[in-house]
Symmetry: C2
Subunit: 233 residues, 2 copies
DNA sequence: CGCAAGCATGCTGCATACAGAATTTTGTTT
DNA sequence: AAACAAAATTCTGTATGCAGCATGCTTGCG
């Protein structure tokens, strides 16, 4: 095997720092996990299809061993299912699965909002406001991709401001499952305006540190997300 | 290698069914994952200690390859941390980690309670009542281990009755992290009485399908769990 | 006597090889 | 022509081997 960096590790934008500024050797494991996850989200690995370890390993330029380790990792995240003797299958999410996940996400974000009202600093809230303003800019330009990136950033920012790592972790897991759905459901800018209004209400409630209102708005926002996404399935 | 079933797979109570009722060959992967998870919970693998792949593989009677795959799986669950070049380390949970997890668990169980009030059948609720009655029996006999098993069963039963798989999944993940703590905090039967009273209130609210009251009681129960567990850290 | 540099050992990370299960293909029979 | 059976091929699951990095020890020098 020539190991000639055909693995696309260029789109690994993660910093090689381990949290305390120490340099960590970029691990092949993380690279493969991130790459395969993206392949699932972007539909390059279709839902319901079996994963052929040999071919995929060849395509990524790695041998089966680290690839299999990455597959086990993703299976634990719920993106793949493992059938003994048959290998890994990309998981299919039914409409009910998606709806159930959104219900849970709504509840988690509501909790995160409450905690953020208590624990976030004024500076941190200003940062979220700035994200929001940039998002509005992109909305007015109808610049879809940056708009959605910022959108997601705002949601994960609220999770960060809750200062609850366990909460951020479980949110991230469910979020990862839905990224594929959101990726598909990104069409149709006519629906944007409602979401933008929701976001304005979210920021305002956060700035006022009105926990009850923020929780309510976030949960409501998740209901509307379901309305927007349900057709895409 | 003799493969002589020193792996304690006897405590694998999982059915060998693949979801659609077909008999699936018991997979070595699952066995190793379950075994190592138990070793962590029971303290055989101490928190903060590095895992020696060679030794552990020898002890379990498997080679490093499937063991490493299992370790990646557990790492994704958050029970292990992977440092490139240094292998897997059993994760340390700080008091704040535990508290944060309990806060999220409380919120998840409250949601599960609300959904269970809507979605559970009368027969299912009766089953939970029976679990509860058996638990009370064990409480009166001061029979600790069955008591705690039934206790956990009741909580996961409520999750099942919510009929929301995503909810059950994230709950299970956090629950797994805390099993080690609960395992330690199982001493001191003087605290039981309060928990038993909570449980009585939980069942009553569920039988009345009073979602608001059930959610409140479940959240409150989680607060008291923190009181009971905090000293054990 | 203390510290640092170099060396030796051991462990992780990855690749490869082999055995057994699953699937597909082909040949035969009705 | 269709259906079943058997063989061949292909893929997964596991073991083993090797290279490189991390770590601890020893030795030499200040």
């Amino acid at each position: 095997m020539d190991q000639s960096r055909t693995d696309g590790s260029s789109d690994l934008l993660t910093e090689d720092l381990d949290g305390r500024g120490r340099i960590a050797r970029p691990s092949l494991h993380d690279a493969i996990v991130a790459r395969v996850r993206d392949m699932i989200i972007e539909g390059e690995l279709a839902a319901g299809s079996r994963i052929h370890e040999g071919n995929l390993g060849l395509k990524l330029g790695v041998s089966r061993t680290p690839l299999r380790e990455a597959l086990k990792f993703l299976a634990s995240e719920g993106l793949l299912e493992l059938s003994p003797g048959k290998g890994a299958v990309v998981r299919q999410f039914s409409a009910k699965d998606v709806h159930d996940s959104l219900v849970v996400l709504g509840s988690l974000e509501a909790l995160a909002g409450r905690l953020a009202c208590e624990n976030a600093s004024d500076a941190e809230i200003r940062e979220v406001r700035e994200l929001h303003d940039r998002m509005i800019e992109m909305y007015e330009k109808r610049d879809r991709l940056p708009y959605f990136k910022l959108n997601q950033n705002i949601h994960s920012a609220i999770l960060r401001l809750s200062k609850n790592e366990a909460l951020a972790y479980v949110h991230g897991t469910l979020q990862a499952r839905l990224r594929r759905i959101r990726y598909i459901g990104n069409e149709g800018p006519e629906k944007w305006s409602g979401a933008v209004a929701d976001h304005e209400a979210i920021i305002t409630a956060l700035e006022a540190r009105d926990a009850d209102r923020l929780a309510k708005v976030l949960a409501h926002h998740m209901d509307r997300t379901w309305e927007r996404v349900r057709n895409a399935i």
